[in-house]
């Protein structure tokens, strides 16, 4: 009986130690979540209803002015430019960047000619600091491009970013050109897990590379593709397109994206605009969040399953 009691006590003590250790492990993540996620977002909602008092140097009051102003944003030219530019950027990324990224990953996965070199080069812009890459690209388009055009075609042209007709297209081109990096490597890694016997069987049936890509490769990496798609939709509004690095706070309003507008206002206007920007953020979250979950539902419902 004593032995059984001792064993029972030991088991209880071990269980208590295990439980205590488990909760100690999760204590910091829990505190962090409560403070820096839940409280920050609740504070953001509260800020939306307040205003900044310069004399008291604090946020005071309670009203709906910021919410009204946030809805008025949708009638401003800023919004029309921003939403158009964000849509263009997303469209280019999804309809051009994603297929190209998948095909480049397929090229690397099939170990075609110089695949290691291309893999390194595609990943390089992800490694190089974006501020450095953007600046080098910017100076190239502003300084080298006009001289190149003059040398090759005997024409006098402005820098691509100086010319208002080509500036935004140049920014979009840069986003595509420097944006393959991590996605290509992740797609290629996902493709490397495809069962070789499935590929061999397809080849025996006469499938060429394109048929293999459409019928075997893409379905196998669909979960990676859908993750990237959902994350892209979630970041649709916050994408700055590196506009702050290109132009600092001086981008033309017709080039704005919503992400750039929000970040620019924080830097230019400071605490005075915090309540308005919080209100605008809430309104935009209410618009974009359902869209993100809808896309998530659709890709899971109508896409390729695990089998």
């Amino acid at each position: 009986m004593n032995l059984k009691n001792i064993q029972k006590t030991n088991k209880l003590q071990n269980s208590l130690k295990k439980n205590t250790f488990y909760f100690i492990l999760l204590l910091w993540p829990l505190i962090h979540f409560l403070v820096f996620y839940l409280y920050v977002n609740l504070n953001s909602i509260l800020l939306a209803f307040r205003s900044y008092d310069f004399d008291k140097k604090q946020f005071v009051g309670f009203g709906l002015d910021n919410i009204k102003k946030a809805f008025e944003f949708f009638t401003l030219p800023y919004f029309k430019y921003s939403i158009k530019n964000s849509c263009v950027a997303f469209g280019v990324s999804f309809f051009i960047g994603t297929p190209l990224g998948l095909l480049f990953a397929f090229y690397i996965y099939k170990k075609m000619l110089f695949h290691n070199f291309f893999k390194f080069l595609l990943f390089l812009p992800s490694i190089i600091p974006s501020v450095a890459m953007v600046l080098i690209f910017m100076y190239f388009t502003e300084e080298a491009y006009p001289d190149l055009a003059n040398l090759l075609f005997n024409t006098q042209v402005e820098g691509l970013l100086q010319n208002p007709n080509t500036a935004f297209a140049t920014v979009i081109f840069y986003t595509l050109w420097a944006g393959f990096g991590t996605s290509v490597v992740m797609y290629a890694s996902a493709m490397s897990t495809i069962n070789e016997s499935v590929v061999e069987a397809a080849k025996l049936d006469g499938a060429g590379p394109l048929r293999e890509f459409i019928s075997i490769t893409f379905p196998s990496v669909y979960s990676t593709f859908s993750t990237f798609l959902v994350v892209s939709v979630a970041g649709f509004v916050t994408n700055q397109l590196n506009l702050y690095t290109f132009f600092s706070t001086n981008a033309e309003p017709k080039f704005y994206t919503i992400g750039y507008y929000l970040f620019r206002e924080i830097n230019v206007s400071g605490k005075l605009q915090y309540p308005y920007l919080s209100a605008l953020g809430i309104v935009l979250t209410i618009c974009v969040a359902p869209l993100t979950f809808l896309v998530k539902y659709l890709v899971n419902r109508f896409g390729y399953g695990e089998d």
């Binding site: 130690k17 295990k18 488990y22 492990l25 999760l26 910091w28 993540p29 962090h32 979540f33 403070v35 820096f36 996620y37 409280y39 920050v40 977002n41 504070n43 953001s44 190209l100 397929f106 090229y107 075609m112 000619l113 291309f118 390194f120 595609l122 990943f123 812009p125 490694i127 190089i128 600091p129 501020v131 450095a132 600046l135 080098i136 690209f137 100076y139 300084e143 001289d147 190149l148 040398l151 050109w177 890694s189 394109l210 979630a234 970041g235 509004v237 929000l262 970040f263 924080i266 830097n267 605009q273 915090y274 919080s278 953020g281 809430i282 935009l284 979250t285 969040a289 993100t292 979950f293």
Partner: protein, 297 residues
């Protein structure tokens, strides 16, 4: 004996992709090479010839950048100070290293807890919260983040961003550790418990070494990511400018003695070199798949 050389039959898709990749490679190499040769030109030479190789290559821009590329900052007492490149590099190492380590540790510990302990409901809640925060877009919370950081005394400090990044939310790294721990055999841990190891000893001496490669890769990727960004240091630690922020501020500078294009591109290359070195040393781990050791059955 007749030797036969078989020509590899390439499909049209391969030719098309090869052509596109060659054009991409040429554009990338041209831009970066042009940037590098520009750093070896003086301001005068660059004005005369913006395209081709310098007639007298020089590295004086690099020497000048190290001594002149300072950022003027406001200190907490309201005074102004100049922060030179060596200090910017130190701040970058502290910021990038601290944030990378804090984030990776948070993901590692949370993943370990939610896979190795049988509290199904709590583990499921934690997992789904992290998944939810990854998918749910919260827009415009930066003003509130700044406000909270100021209230907690984390604003404009070196340790503030490190504490704020010590979480498993919003990224893929928790799920990478989660998958790794799920795939580990219990035999590793049971053997340790039988030998009398405590939970802490199992965590530190069994679990951590098993996922060390993954931990290292995540820290490397995060270090590079934090080294490269400048917007968070600009907002949250403006008195402690990192090198990326220094380069950005330098690009906006108006001091005509040093604000010529070759000098500005030189600053970019100074920022690039450390990450290129890291990438050169660890590129296989960073771009490849990882495997773990096995158990003798």
């Amino acid at each position: 004996m007749k030797l036969e050389f078989k020509k590899k039959h390439r499909k049209p898709l391969e030719y098309i992709l090869f052509t596109v990749l060659v054009l991409y490679a040429l554009s990338m190499i041209c831009v970066i090479a042009w940037g590098f040769i520009t750093t070896m030109k003086t301001a005068v030479e660059f004005r005369l010839d913006r395209l081709f190789l310098p007639t007298e290559p020089t590295f004086e821009n690099y020497i000048l950048a190290f001594s002149k590329m300072s950022v003027e900052v406001s200190l907490k007492d309201g005074s102004r100070a100049l922060v030179a490149i060596p200090m910017q590099i130190l701040y970058s190492i502290i910021y990038a290293g601290g944030c990378a380590l804090a984030g990776a540790l948070a993901c590692f510990i949370t993943a370990y807890a939610t896979t190795r302990f049988k509290f199904k409901k709590v583990n499921s809640i934690v997992y789904n919260i992290i998944l939810f925060t990854m998918v749910l877009p919260i827009i415009g919370s930066l003003p509130s983040q700044i406000n909270v950081a100021q209230s907690l005394g984390l604003y404009n400090t070196l340790y503030g961003p490190i504490i704020m990044s010590a979480h498993p939310l919003g990224g893929m790294h928790y799920f990478i550790f989660y998958a790794m721990f799920k795939s580990l055999s219990n035999t590793y841990f049971e053997a340790a418990y039988i030998d009398g190891a405590s939970e802490l000893q199992v965590l530190v001496r069994i679990a951590f070494p098993l996922v060390f490669n993954t931990f290292l890769v995540i820290i490397l990727l995060q270090f590079i990511s934090y080294w490269n960004e400048f917007q968070t240091p600009m907002i949250f630690m403006s008195s402690y400018p990192t090198l990326a922020l220094g380069v950005f501020n330098f690009s906006l500078g108006s001091d005509t003695r040093y604000s010529y294009v070759p000098m500005k591109i030189t600053a970019c290359f100074i920022l690039i070199v450390p990450v290129i070195i890291l990438f050169a040393c660890f590129h296989e781990k960073m771009m490849g798949n990882l495997r773990i050791g096995g158990i003798k059955e």
